[in-house]
Symmetry: C2
Subunit: 383 residues, 2 copies
Amino acid sequence: MKALVIGGDGYCGWATALHLSNKGYDVAILDNLARRHWDDKLGVNTLTPIASIQKRINRWYELTGKKIELFVGDITNYDFLIKAFRKFEPESIVHFGEQRSAPYSMIDREHAVFTQVNNVVGTLNILYAMKEEFPDSHLVKLGTMGEYGTPNIDIEEGYIEIEHNGRKDILPYPKQPGSFYHLSKVHDSHNIHFACKIWGIRATDLNQGVVYGVLTEETGMDELLINRLDYDGVFGTALNRFCIQAAIGHPLTVYGKGGQTRAFLDIRDTVRCMELAIANPAEAGQFRVFNQFTELFSIKDLATMVQKAGATLGLKVEINNLENPRVELEDHYFNAKNTKLLDLGLQPHYLSDSLLDSLLNFANKYKGRVDMEQILPKVSWRR
Amino acid sequence: MKALVIGGDGYCGWATALHLSNKGYDVAILDNLARRHWDDKLGVNTLTPIASIQKRINRWYELTGKKIELFVGDITNYDFLIKAFRKFEPESIVHFGEQRSAPYSMIDREHAVFTQVNNVVGTLNILYAMKEEFPDSHLVKLGTMGEYGTPNIDIEEGYIEIEHNGRKDILPYPKQPGSFYHLSKVHDSHNIHFACKIWGIRATDLNQGVVYGVLTEETGMDELLINRLDYDGVFGTALNRFCIQAAIGHPLTVYGKGGQTRAFLDIRDTVRCMELAIANPAEAGQFRVFNQFTELFSIKDLATMVQKAGATLGLKVEINNLENPRVELEDHYFNAKNTKLLDLGLQPHYLSDSLLDSLLNFANKYKGRVDMEQILPKVSWRR
């Protein structure tokens, strides 16, 4: 089975590409390497010293004998995209190839417009390439739990049955995204749903929670395979960011009261979810939505857990409640369903003290690379 | 009160600009004249011989003494947009400035991408201009009833209260748009809603039905003020198209069984709805949604009405059930609410025999301009 991993040089994409290759899939990576370029432009860097994509792939081949083909280019360029598709002939198209940071999309008008055009056009191009020449392939698309916002009712997986004035229908779950980035994912979901309906395309939209952790079975095999780990105010996500802050003695940056509850998963479950979605493809014409996470935590609780884990390692961890740069509720109902991937066989890695210890130790190993200037959030939703 | 009409050279925009000017608003038109350019590129033309925007505005001034300022340029160019805003200093921003044809968006990948980028970026630029320099202005944005699709429950105005597992919330109404154009309007709605929430912007999203008719009080004042009237397979909408087909002896082009029910309104009500929305602005931070239509008809029923009205004028009108070029249900529930504009004082012009007679006679007057090659639909949703 041939799987093309678009965005395969990124955090989730790299781990997924290696995992699929390890499991016997014929894997290719398509990436424009934009994430490395944005790091350069913002003056930020991953905590971990990642090798070039070419070196990574070569090392993987040396270690395992498994080849990963590489296509360097941009999916918003249809000509490039279709040529890569024709060369590789993917059966599964795993699409991580989007601008994925909410703060990045909120920097200013240019970044908002860029994020939406980049993400929406890239996905439209993939849909047209599938329709035109690869109608039986399966799109596995990274969405986000942030598409739902924080409604005061339970969050279902993509659809909800609504009874209204004595009639019923199953309709797309209403979306209340919280940044121009999250909005771009909502736009994608609507576009993909429509393409499935009119062209009979197969698609799975994975509404993923916040991913934490850095080691997977494959990326842990060699220093040259090491995955990226972001801690800066633009690309660093909660928990990974907290662990790095704890390791370097910086107070944990909790936004506001920290009552925001979000969905989380270990990166070892991300790669397994991708494998499950690919191995069990959507039907022709089906727009399937899975909520991809394993646990719910409030930001405040996460910070406390990191503080405790730090204490056992002799770290004195402070928690700093910053003025929230985002516009979001800090005290709200949040209950999301996640049974579909469990039904397919996902065995979750729950957040544990040992994971926190390992993340803290990992962060400690590379703490000399931290740039203290990049830790605090600089992008405000309001201004 | 200063009202900037973006897209003021188009069918709804031109009628609205004159109506607002007539009612005492200080009006400016901003338009990139793209619609005239697309007509040229597709080889289609309005049935009516429309004057240039410059001649139209001059004639309006000669007749009424009312000046309409003109900005020719593209709102996807932020530099142009903000300069026009600074010069005119709008209090109401009426936004018709989008690619508005579903078939146009379905021609091919390029047209789909163009439609979404053009519409989404134009609206994002307006939102940023409002936030940056005109925070108290009111955005009156043209949406479409097509955002809702055809759910099996009643369609509310923008939001719906959902009770689920014992809890309740009022959430954005689920959207099931039926073309890449309709999708672009859904994307806009989500973007605007978010901007209202985080920046306190005032916005009214008008989910308009299919507009019919051509004469308004103002555009009927002079031949040089005449409005455009489209009958071709790309830009011609139901009813207007049927009346022109009847006048020239072409069978009415009903797609499929014609059981598709849609929302309709007279263009005289469009201009009045715009006036009502402007005169009663949304609150700061409010994303207000009105369903802008007056009646529901099935396409089959519309065709039969045109057939009957034709008979009284001695026209023998045939109805042709074409293979449906679109992917849509031809037999479905459809019940949409429209009380908010009525509550603000809208007095509907209902579709009547006299309107049909007048439209048929109007079409007859200009039938020499019809290009028979342009009548049948050429764009398929499937291929």
